[in-house]
Structure formats: structure tokens, C-alpha cells
Subunit: 239 residues, 6 copies
Amino acid sequence: MTTLLVVNVNTTRSVTDVIAAAARAAVSPGTTVVPLTPRFGPASVESNYESHLSAVGVLDAVQTYDGPFDAVVHAGFGEVGRDALQDVLTVPVVDITEAAAHTACLLGRTFGVVTSLDRAVPAIHDRLLLAGLAGRCSGVRSVDLPVLELETDPGLTAKAFTEEAARLVEEGAEVVVLGCAGMSGLHAALSAELEVPVVDGVAAAARLAESLVALGLSTSKARSYAAPRPKELRGWPFG
Amino acid sequence: MTTLLVVNVNTTRSVTDVIAAAARAAVSPGTTVVPLTPRFGPASVESNYESHLSAVGVLDAVQTYDGPFDAVVHAGFGEVGRDALQDVLTVPVVDITEAAAHTACLLGRTFGVVTSLDRAVPAIHDRLLLAGLAGRCSGVRSVDLPVLELETDPGLTAKAFTEEAARLVEEGAEVVVLGCAGMSGLHAALSAELEVPVVDGVAAAARLAESLVALGLSTSKARSYAAPRPKELRGWPFG
Amino acid sequence: MTTLLVVNVNTTRSVTDVIAAAARAAVSPGTTVVPLTPRFGPASVESNYESHLSAVGVLDAVQTYDGPFDAVVHAGFGEVGRDALQDVLTVPVVDITEAAAHTACLLGRTFGVVTSLDRAVPAIHDRLLLAGLAGRCSGVRSVDLPVLELETDPGLTAKAFTEEAARLVEEGAEVVVLGCAGMSGLHAALSAELEVPVVDGVAAAARLAESLVALGLSTSKARSYAAPRPKELRGWPFG
Amino acid sequence: MTTLLVVNVNTTRSVTDVIAAAARAAVSPGTTVVPLTPRFGPASVESNYESHLSAVGVLDAVQTYDGPFDAVVHAGFGEVGRDALQDVLTVPVVDITEAAAHTACLLGRTFGVVTSLDRAVPAIHDRLLLAGLAGRCSGVRSVDLPVLELETDPGLTAKAFTEEAARLVEEGAEVVVLGCAGMSGLHAALSAELEVPVVDGVAAAARLAESLVALGLSTSKARSYAAPRPKELRGWPFG
Amino acid sequence: MTTLLVVNVNTTRSVTDVIAAAARAAVSPGTTVVPLTPRFGPASVESNYESHLSAVGVLDAVQTYDGPFDAVVHAGFGEVGRDALQDVLTVPVVDITEAAAHTACLLGRTFGVVTSLDRAVPAIHDRLLLAGLAGRCSGVRSVDLPVLELETDPGLTAKAFTEEAARLVEEGAEVVVLGCAGMSGLHAALSAELEVPVVDGVAAAARLAESLVALGLSTSKARSYAAPRPKELRGWPFG
Amino acid sequence: MTTLLVVNVNTTRSVTDVIAAAARAAVSPGTTVVPLTPRFGPASVESNYESHLSAVGVLDAVQTYDGPFDAVVHAGFGEVGRDALQDVLTVPVVDITEAAAHTACLLGRTFGVVTSLDRAVPAIHDRLLLAGLAGRCSGVRSVDLPVLELETDPGLTAKAFTEEAARLVEEGAEVVVLGCAGMSGLHAALSAELEVPVVDGVAAAARLAESLVALGLSTSKARSYAAPRPKELRGWPFG
């Protein structure tokens, strides 16, 4: 029995629900998905500022979770904070941006990403650059819709994603990555329409996290993600 | 029920057996591993010349296999030919070099590779460069032992791998990748000794291949790996 | 009259004092340096975990400062969070890692960085990679002393920094960057000993921030650092 | 007297004839061009699959040639296998993709490549990446015509190549490389039309191979291209 | 009192005047700007040939200047020769191309450059590549007007620069760099029109040079810019 | 009949003689080598300063040569100025640094460079970076002997070059490039001793220049190397 914590980066429970469903659909029968929503932070994460607030909210959600778990999925596309979790945990931590990109690399020579707002585009590029995968990414495009409006008119959202994804394919993407957590519905429609594989980061990350556990692999504590030295944390209002 | 073809690149059956065991230990209960050995080709693959011969042997082995299968694992570390399989198949094809590298990237900021002969080092660098992952690799080292001598004196082999892997860690590797197919025994010893995660490409590839099948993902046929146009294959002595 | 907020990333006031002194020594007569210490966070920042906590502490310190100011210096070497400040402000924000690297590039073809703990080395590489300046960096070395012990035995600290900096120069660094906030005392000693320019990030950043103000330049709001969209910030315990 | 083996990658003799003519037109009076056509393999090479089959066909053609020779030209644009020949020979081996790119670099700051089918584009990018020359390539474009149809309507073919080459020049290419073996006729037309140098890989490779021989230079046997260790080649149906 | 030599690269005094005014507007009250015009060389620098002639003219202008000075600004955008000055001087030397790029990096994630003639575009790319900043540059565009015609019809020039700069912003530039010395008038108009920061290299370089002096920093003499060994300079007609 | 101008970058005629001999030994019977020595400039080129002076001396030597010629070899290793010649000529111009590097790439996967003074090392790296070939270079080492002392004690020089070249090979170089013009004597000794190909830039460049002429190829005038616009050259004391 493997237990995965799947942590939303925003405080909107309906988004957590979509993420949880996507993760559950992806894992093996023996794996339990425990969805977490941060106690504090922005309702949606669409800027560097909000990304940094969410990093701490995600840390808090994981650190105050009192049950056992075998791995963590950091379910913010293009967000920071995966490394902070790796420092304080000994189990694997999988970021959905990286999971999607690594998975896409197994399916085609290049991948493109479709995300929500245009301002998320540079942040996604930066995450891929740090992951060493920028060379495989043929482009990042946005539908220019805020995260929380994606659910307002599903038909319109699907149309917008399909259009941008089609442009990515025309420009050379062989695989499309959904650059936003919890868009599993879109996943099916896009793949049928575009005739290329479409990767959802939450599904990919959940499956990868489960696989790392099965393979007996965990985060290296050798250098970058060594446990922080014990020290005073002044004035911290959280657990 | 998922069936994985796991194809050795050389014609030595004892190596195929080790690879098969590693793959079986890595997959879920519902997955069947079918090991294949090429009908022709070199007894071990340790040069560009042999790598190219093996690419055709691997193709032949897969194309003449007459049962159903859901994915293929190309079990040659640092070898060419994964893309040829992707052209002619519609199921996922996972190369163990890439599988190991992608998996290692989820566990640490950098990884190092220990391989058999020194002359394999440049080829491994080239595979990682094409995979876009060279930037995450902190180094590739060899024990300078031929592939088929690795089994002769397991104690000596383990000692040599441990020494080179320890050097990689000193030089900044946070994760170690076993740069040779079927060294699963070494895997346990190395990880205990070095206190960093050690990734075996066969195990990683088998698990990733199974995961791609579970996620409903397959090779993109959009461009690089589109099916070859039908045409005459003159004088070809194989099936 | 130009006012610079110079924000320490840890909660240790003696470090803030050293940073403030370095900034004051660097700016023009007409510039006022206002040092800030976060209300909460770690006593020293030496991991990704602490870096993320400090990012929020720095945001809070700046957002709750109630006087006018013309620019901000983010005084954490190798830390995250500069971009979050750029999102919420309209004045220039200068990070000391980047300020030091850009300044070093004007003085020599390559620069090396000496930092405190070895585990900070990868984080510094990542900051330089994102800044596009990794190609100019010939190496990052650490003295392997915790930040708060650097002040314990100044002679020992100076000796350790000099030794590592000398190694960087032997390996090709033409300029040395002090990879830790507030080591101004070391600056003079190192430069005299090594006969290469030694750049202190706090001094460089303070001077650059002042210069941007004088040139009438500020952060672009065009894309990456556009103001966040107004939205609910649930359960946030800070101002 | 220098003898060059110029090996076609496909089994179509009319293509071999065009290649031979291009090579003969490029070399010095004292050099003899011996054209070779593989005994087996695809009628044209337009996929990774066919490229791998052709690599073995080219090896066979060279290894079964029973006369003396001083250098080999591998006349497949964007194809694999040059390194396999280097392993088994002691004379220079020149690949036409690389020869064209190196030559183009001497003539302008950037070069563009026009090739036959769109699916060849990624493979050409990969060859240039491995050759370290991707940074000099401003783009690769295709006329989207199969190799064997290029001869069907020479006027149409010339028009298509000229149009794509003109686009490359508009987009910044200062030199144009013909990305397909044996298009020497196009060479003259394109250069006259576009007023930029146009490089034919076969001509460039033949001349470079001859030059290496004249300079007394051959393939390094130090590491990557060392002779394979003697070993059993099981079930191999060829010479 | 700090004295900056600001050296024009061409022999046109009206251009020197504009450069001098831009530098004076940028520096602190206590800094004196001494503009220099080469005694010989081209009336405008718009090719590699002219750039090399100007490099020697700039060297001569600085070496024959007989007063004291604290730093030098090399005021040619995209031109060569900054390193030659660094060899023969002990004071800081700041190139306007690099100064503009480094400054732009502090203001946005990416910058674009607008220059005069199209043929200057590749040279600017090369300067940025050597400076290690090419990764931050989203594009270089030209108005395709010769340098000395920029002053002929200021309205037309402003319109052309605004159009190209707007295209750069559309394509992802968050900051615009004026890729030509002495276009300070355009600076104000562009910034107002485009709503992104616009960096003038002369202003940036003058301020940076002054800052380096204030920080007590100078060119490293460790390796690249060590003083040339004393030796005979045959037939040199200049001082 | 092909005529090559082979231009030394320094004003020392004995060096010109060695260069001329190397070029003559490399070209075909029908090719005439015309060696040129600049009328003015440094006795040896060992700094950025001297490199820039030599660039103008080389230009002058070529522009004042009054006979016909078919191509130019710029015989300064690691020096600037090749592009200036390309601007003003319509025949091919081949730089020995680039010629050596391109040639080495045809012989092995990586090459190393042995040069005279340590301070030349960064300049050589920069030339290779601009040529797009830095990725193929495994290292540059110096014997730390001034150019004009290389002839003083040939035995000592040969020993020093052999030692540094052997280190390059140990560190992964498969081919060695002589990083200094006119060391043809060393060429034979090194190659015999090290058992790897050794490339002399002058020989490689002379042969490549001749080949470009034979192939009917010349410098692209499309953009980077277009002819300079006619304009006044004020105060220029040369032809």
C-alpha cells in the first residue's frame, strides 16, 4: 500500500478536487491519493509573488499532515517550492511541471506547453531551464485566461486550449503538455483532436511518484537537498 | 494485463536473463516481461560499430516477435536505435539510458554515470546530449572492464563500480546511474555503500514503460517518429 | 535624495548590521540606506527550505515598511524571492547574487564565487543559470562553515576564504565574488592577498540600485513582473 | 593517386550515379572516386528506421569492397552511421552533413538547410547538435517531397528548393546547404537565384576527404573511434 | 572627483556631442565626462571592417590623452575593442553594449535590442554571446537606417525605432535596449510610448563606470587582460 | 592556377617563413602561396591589444597587395580580424583557428589545443565560442612560453608541447590542435609521440582555402560580411 500526498498550490478546494481525481485515475489500485489544500495562500497562483506564498503554504500543508505517506506530488504547474519539500522530507517529491516534461520526452522529440495566463510563460521556461529540459521544449503558449475562469465555460476553455495546442504542433511540438494543474477533462478532448500525445502533469507525477516508491528510490540527501541544519525559526506563526 | 518486450542489445543469453530479472523485479504484479535476445549481432556491444549492428538486431527481434505487446524497453545503455523502433511501432518505446537519466533527475539536482569501458563514455555523453539531459549530468566514469568480464569476478566488479561511483559523488553527483544493462546486483551494494540513490536503467525503463501504458500514452507520430513511407527493402535477408 | 531598503534574508540583527554598513559604504552621499530584518524566519538561510521561508519574510518586511523608498536590495546570496518583490513593487529590486555577477563581468572574463556551506553551491549555480550568467562563472567553492560561525573566528574565516578564492583563481577565475551577504571585512583582505578584484554583492547591489534610480529606470511590468491580479489571500497571518 | 569510396545510403543506383558525378566534379585530377551502392536496404532513406538499416548496408558495402582506398565519404544527408565506419577503418571518413556544415561555416556566420521531407528536419537538427554546429544553423526547411520524386519533375523541384531557400535567407541564413545527397543540378540554379553561397555536401565531403589524405590526417583511434575489441558476431548473414 | 573618458568610435563630432550629453546626464554631480573623438577612422561604424579600424582609433584616442582619468566608456554599440583597452589600462573600461545588457537584465527577464542597420544585428548577437548574455536577449531588430542618417529626420527615426521596439515587446522583450550610441532623445519617446523600460547604453555605461570607481574596483589583470609584454611595435605611425 | 595570400599577423619575417613553408607543404601542385608580413604592428601577438593592432596590419597587407589572388589565409591563432577581411574581399578568407578546429572535428569527437602563453587561452576559447565549436573542444592548455622564444630551444619547446598535449589526451582530447601559427616541425614529433592526429592550422587553412576556390565557393555577402558602405575614412595614414 502506497500513500501519495498530492498538494494543490492554491486554496481553492474545487481545484484540489480536480487534481485529486486526476491523480486517482492515474495510480495503481494499491495506491491511496491524499489530496491537500494549503491552509493559507492565494485562491489561484498566477505570479511569482503568489508562487512564493504558495511554496510556504504547501510546506505547511505537508509538514502539518499527521499521517504516514510515501511520496509527495507538488501540484503547481510552473511554481517554485519543490526543492524546499525535498530538503525536509526523506520520501520522493515530484513536481508536476517536471513530471510532465520528463514524460513528454519519452513520447516525442519535442514538446510544447499550453498554459493559462501569458505571464506564466516565462516562469514555465525558467522551471524547464533549471530542470535541464528547455532544449526539448519547442514552445510555451497561453490561452490568456485566469486559472479560476477556466472552469466557467468549459467549452470555451477547451476551444482555446485546442487552438493554442494546434499552433504548438504546427510549430514543431510532437507532444503537448497541459501547463496547468487539474485539466484532465481537456486532456481527452485535446488528444483526440490533435492526434498527438497530451500529457497531464498531475497524472504523470502521481504515476512517477508511485514508481519511485516501488523502485525503492528516494530524494538524494547528498548535497542540494540535505536536511537543513537545526536552527531557530523566529516568529514563525505556523506549525 | 500489460506485456513489455524487454530487448537485450547483445546476443549473450545470460545477459538477457539478468536484464529480464531486473525488469521483473521492477514492474507491477499485473505486468508480464518478455525478454528478447537478437538472433544476430555481437556478443557484447562496446563500440559505435557494434551499436549500429545491434540496432538492426533489436529491430529484427521486435519485428519478428509474433505475440501482442504493449510497450518495448530498449535495454542497451548508451546505444543507438531507440528511434528506429519508435518509427515502426505504435506502442511506447523506452530506452534505458534515457529512463535512468530522467528518473535520476527526479531524485537529485545532478547525476553521474558509471559504465564499463572507457570508450563508452563519449557515446553516453552523446545520448544524454540528444536527450537534452547533458546539463544535469555531472560526469561519466568507467571501470574499464569489458561487459562480458563484469560477471567473471563479481567482487572485483562491485569494488571497481563503488570506487568510480564514490569519485562521481565527490565530484558533485547527487545520484548515481548504473551505465550498463543488467547490473542489478551492484545496485543494492552501491546504494548502501554510497548513501545516494542508485538508478538501474532497466528497472527504471520497465516501470516507466508500464506507466506510459497505464496513462494511455504512446509515441507521437506527428513528425520525428511517423511511420516510414511504404517502400521496397532490397536484398534484406531478415524477416 | 534616494532611499534604498536593504533587506536581510535572515532574522539575525548582527548580520543586518554588517549588510547595512556595507551598503552605506557603497552608496553616494545623497543616498539613505534603510536596513530591514524580517519579523519571522530562520536565523540563517542555508537550504532551499530556509530560502523559501525567507522569501516570504522578506516580502513581509518590505510590504509592511511604511515609509517611502526608491529601490530595494535583496541581500541574500543565492536565495530565491527577488522576483516576488518585483511583482508587487514599481521601484527597482536588485538581488545581491545577480548584482555581484553582473559587476564581476565588467571586470574580468570569468568570475568565481566563494560561499559558506557546500550545500549552497548548487543553489548559487541555479541562480546564475537563471540569470543567464552561468557561462561567465568559472566555479563556485565553499569554505564549509555555517553562516553564523563566520563571525566566530574572523581570522580563521579570512584564512578559509582566502584559500578557496586562491584555488578559484588558479582554476581560471579572474574576479572573485563573495558568495555570502555582509562579508565586507573579508573583501579588503582578499583583494590585497589575491591581486584580483573582489566583489561584495551588497556593495554592488546598493550602488546598482542607486544607479537605476538615478537613470530613471525601474522594473518592467510588461510580462514576468506584472502586478498580480487582485484576489483573495486566504488565512494569511501577515500584514 | 588518392582513391575515395563514396557510399550512397540507399539502394537506388541512379542516386549513386548523381552522387558520383558530384564527387568527381569536386575532386582534384589525381583523385579517383569509387561509388558504392549498398547490396541491401531501402530504396530511399527518409526515417530513423531506414537510416539505421542503411547504416549497416553502408558498413557492408565498405567492408566487402576489396580494393585499396584512402578515405570514405558517407553520402547520406542527416543519416546515422558515420561513427561505425570510423571504428572499423583507419582512413578518414567524412559525412556529407557535417562536411556541408563545416564548409558553410567558413563562408558565412549562419547557414540554413533545405531538405526533402519535413520528417527529416529533426534528424538533421540532431546531427548538427552532435556535431556541435547547431548554433551556426539558422534553420532547416523542407520542400516536403520524397527523395525519389525529386527527379520526377526537375523544374518543380528546383522551384520548391528555391522558395524554401529564399525563406531561409530572409530569416537570416547567409549560406544555404543542400540537405539531400546528389542535388548538384540544383546547386547552380539556387546559387544564381539567391546570391548566397550554396553548399552541396557531397562535393564538400569529397574535397575534404581528399584534403585530409593530402595532409596525412586520419581518424583518431584514441577513444570514441578505437577499433572494436575482437569478438564473436553471431548469426550475421553478411560478409 | 571622478573623470570618465567617453570615447566615440567614429570620427563624427556631432555624434560625440550627443554621446557626451547622454553621459553627462547620467553621472553624479562630482563626475566629469571627457568626450573623445578618434583622430582617424570611419565617419560611422557599420561593418566588421570599420569596427576593427575604430578599435585602433579608440586605442589611439585614449593612449594619447594626456590628462588623468578614472575610467573609460567605450561608446560603440556592438563594436570590438573593449578588451584591447583593458589590456593597456589599469582603470575600469565599460563597453556600452555590455553595460546596456547588464542593466536591462536587472529590469526584466528578457531584453530586445533595436539598432540602425540590419547588418549590425549579427555583430550585436556575437557581442552578447561573448558577454554570456545571449540567453537573456529575446531578439535584435533594425530600422535599417544608416547611423549618420538617424539625425536627418528625427521624426522618421523615432517612428522607425518605436515600430521595431514595439515588435520586440510583442515577441517577448520586457526591456528595450537602444542599440546605437547617442540616441538619448529617442529614449524618452520610446519609453513613454511602449510602457517598458528603455536602456541607453551610454547612460548605463557612464553610470556603471562611475560606480566601479566608487566601489574601488578595476579590471582584473589576472589573465585575459594582463598588461601586454613589452615588445617592439614596428612601423606604427601613431603615438 | 590558384593563388593564396597567407598573411602572418606579426611583423617577424622568420615566423612568416615558417608559415609559408607549412602552407606550401599543404597545398596542391597547382597552388601558389604568397606569404605576407604586415608593414606595421607587434613583433608577436600575445594580447587582445596586439591582436587588434595586428587586425589592422593584416588588412593593410592584403589591401595593398597589388597582384591577383583567389583566397586569403589569416594566419594568427586565436586572433581577431578575419571578419574585417571578409567584409572588404569577395574571395574566401580562412582563419587558421577555425580551420584547425573544423578539421579536427572530422577526425575525432573532441579536440584539445596547445598554445604558447597562458593568457592566450581565454582568447582561443572566445574564438571557438563564436565559431560555434566550443562544445567540441575538451580543453586549451599552454606551455607558457612567449611566441618568439619557441624557436630559441626547439628541443625544450617540443618537450613542453608534448607534455601539455599528452595531458589534453589524458583529459579526453582525441585530436590535438597546434594553437600557434607555424609550428610545423612540432607537428610531426607530436603526432608520433601521442598517437593521435595533430592538426596544424596553417596547413589546414591553406588546404581548405584552396578547396573552397576549387568548389567555386566564396564568402557570403548576404548580411554579416556585406561590403561596407562607401564612406569617408578620416586621417587614416595607410593605403
